[in-house]
């Protein structure tokens, strides 16, 4: 690849309390591609995403996004650069209605009709639940709401943490469709995904973490073909999942 990456992490270290979690993470995310971050439980994937968003403070290293140094900014400033975050727990406000949750994803002017119609056309269930408290939605519906909220504004980067965790297969398919459409629309996505089949379908680039470091970088296709590598890095293989 000859173009510049949109997001670059260089030697990023993160401490949580007295624990040294990220121990020099190097990662590049290219525009209009889906980069999948893989790794066993506790490898540091979520911590990496939170550090990008400024929710943890990087104790060393550089995080740059376009021309901006993210490690000097706070989360609201980072979000306003056009980075949407869908956390592992989805970050849905259960006491707020579906409408209010979506509204928080818009800019100061509130809903833009064309955008809203587009999103509601993709996720018709949100229209049905429009005025219900989001706390009454199922896990999968909340995940859809979280992703829809991230899509309420044009975004330069989507950072999504394990969207399919704990979801029924039918829900996983709905999400996969949504991400494929997002990808066709030219979105840039950094995705943490344990469901290897989903990762392999969506991903262009793959990076694997272990003990707070990136230990493998390749195209997703290359990783998907190499079962020995999958077993070594992830303790599983695509075949074993099917």
């Amino acid at each position: 690849m000859t173009e510049q990456p949109l997001l670059v992490l260089k030697g990023v270290h993160t401490h949580i309390g007295r624990y040294h979690i990220l121990q020099g993470v190097d990662l590049e995310v290219y525009a209009q591609r889906v980069s999948v971050l893989l790794g066993r439980n506790g490898a540091g994937k979520t911590t990496t995403l939170r550090t990008i968003l400024g929710l943890w403070h990087a104790s060393a290293g550089e995080i740059s996004f376009d021309q901006h140094r993210l490690n000097t900014l706070d989360p609201p400033a980072i979000a306003r650069l056009g980075i949407a975050y869908v956390p592992e727990n989805m970050g849905i406000f259960s006491g707020l209605s579906v409408r209010e949750n979506l509204l928080l994803g818009t800019g100061p002017k509130g809903f833009r009709n064309s955008r809203l119609e587009e999103v509601l056309a993709s996720f018709p269930l949100l229209r049905e639940k429009w005025n219900l408290p989001a706390g009454t939605l199922s896990g999968g519906q909340k995940q859809i709401l979280a992703i829809a909220r991230a899509m309420m504004l044009p975004r330069r980067l989507f950072v999504v943490d394990e969207p399919t965790k704990g979801l029924a297969p039918a829900m996983v398919d709905v999400l996969l469709d949504a991400f494929l459409r997002l990808k066709e629309g030219g979105a840039t996505i950094l995705l943490v995904e344990q469901n290897f089949a989903m990762a392999a379908t969506l991903g262009d680039d793959a990076a694997v973490m272990e003990d707070g470091r990136i230990v493998h970088v390749s195209s997703m296709a290359a990783l998907a073909q190499d079962e020995a590598l999958q077993t070594r890095l992830l303790g599983l293989s695509l075949a074993s999942h099917q």
Binding site: L53, L55, D74, P75, P76, A79, R80, Y85, P87, G91, F93, S94, G95, L96, E100, L103, L104, G105, P108, G110, P133, G135, T136, R149
Partner: protein
């Protein structure tokens, strides 16, 4: 929150009122209920800000009572300054002086809240022990300051003439001032609920009470919002203190610290961070205090603590705990 979770606490308030109704003669019940509603609404004004600042930033502010004290003194000072309006037999002038007193209380306490948030609270985010030490110390300092300014003795707070005396309703005497206080508190509650439900800022505040981090990750800064809520809460506490002192017809520098336990009971009963919960909690405390004070005066002090314990056994996070972190 599901609607059903809200229904039971509302029913509880009605149940307490019904128990009171069964336990005493009707006219006493009417008088005491009116007193309980008025007390509840004044307490609500005092705690609305307290519960929100806890919900938004986990800040425990034991100095909140100081805003009550200063609001009360501001009102007393305004009444003393315009005795002819206070004594006037024209109700417009009575309401005018009451509004002026409330405004002075809101301005003084709001300004103090602004300064306190900037200088002190901002330094102790996330550190509960330091918050407790700092704000408890601040309450003591504020009390001493009030003594320096207004003296150690109680100063009289004269009600406007038209608000003295009672209405006679169904044979029960209901003090006019209590009706005004209850209506005003209800108005502020509805206003706050309207803001929280329908404005963008209100939605962000409710979201922030549930999950501050996610609100920030969506691009909103909580700090300035919190400062705004802190100032508004201080101003409301000032107005609550002004109304309380006007009712009691007197104010001392210890008013705020005297009320501190009670306002924390209300906030805990209601559920930290919930304005609706505080409203119901304040009503419960107001009604129970008045009923028990009549039926079993010796238990009056204990009754609110028992009420709190019973409610926490039922709902450990309070009537309407907001969000969940």
């Amino acid at each position: 929150m599901k609607p059903s979770e809200r229904t039971l606490p509302v029913l509880l308030v009605l149940l307490i009122a019904a128990l009171g109704f069964a336990a005493m003669p009707f006219t006493d019940w009417l008088t005491l209920s009116a007193a309980g509603l008025a007390m509840g609404m004044m307490l609500f004004l005092m705690v609305a800000g307290l519960t929100l600042i806890f919900g938004l930033m986990d800040v425990l502010n034991f100095a909140h009572g100081a805003f009550i004290t200063f609001g009360a003194f501001a009102a007393g000072t305004v009444f003393a300054r315009f005795p002819q309006l206070v004594a006037s037999d024209r109700w417009e002038e009575n309401l005018l002086i009451l509004a002026l007193a409330a405004l002075a209380a809101a301005l003084l306490s709001g300004a103090l809240g602004f300064g306190f948030e900037r200088v002190a609270i901002g330094r102790v985010y996330g550190a509960h022990l330091r918050q407790i030490l700092l704000t408890t110390g601040a309450l003591i300092v504020a009390e001493q300051l009030a003594i320096v300014i207004w003296g150690p003795d109680a100063i009289p707070v004269l009600k406007p003439a038209g608000l003295r005396g009672s209405f006679l309703i169904a044979g029960a005497a209901i003090e006019k001032y209590r009706v005004v206080a209850a209506l005003f508190g209800l108005f502020v509650f509805l206003l706050l609920q309207g803001i929280l439900a329908h404005t963008r800022i209100g939605i962000i505040v409710r979201a922030g009470v549930e999950n501050r981090e996610m609100v920030e990750a969506l691009g909103y800064r909580i700090r300035p919002l919190f400062a705004g809520v802190f100032v508004a809460g201080a101003a409301l506490a000032g107005v609550g203190g002004a109304m309380w002192a006007t009712y009691a017809a007197t104010v001392t520098a210890s008013l705020g610290s005297d009320l501190t336990v009670l306002i924390f009971i209300v906030v805990i009963i209601g559920g930290l961070g919930s304005v609706g919960g505080s409203f119901l909690g304040a009503l419960l405390v107001g009604l129970v205090t008045n009923y028990v004070g009549f039926l079993a005066p010796k238990l009056a002090l204990l009754s609110n603590i028992l009420l709190m314990a019973a409610i926490l056994l039922w709902r450990p996070r309070g009537l309407l705990a907001a969000g969940g972190r």
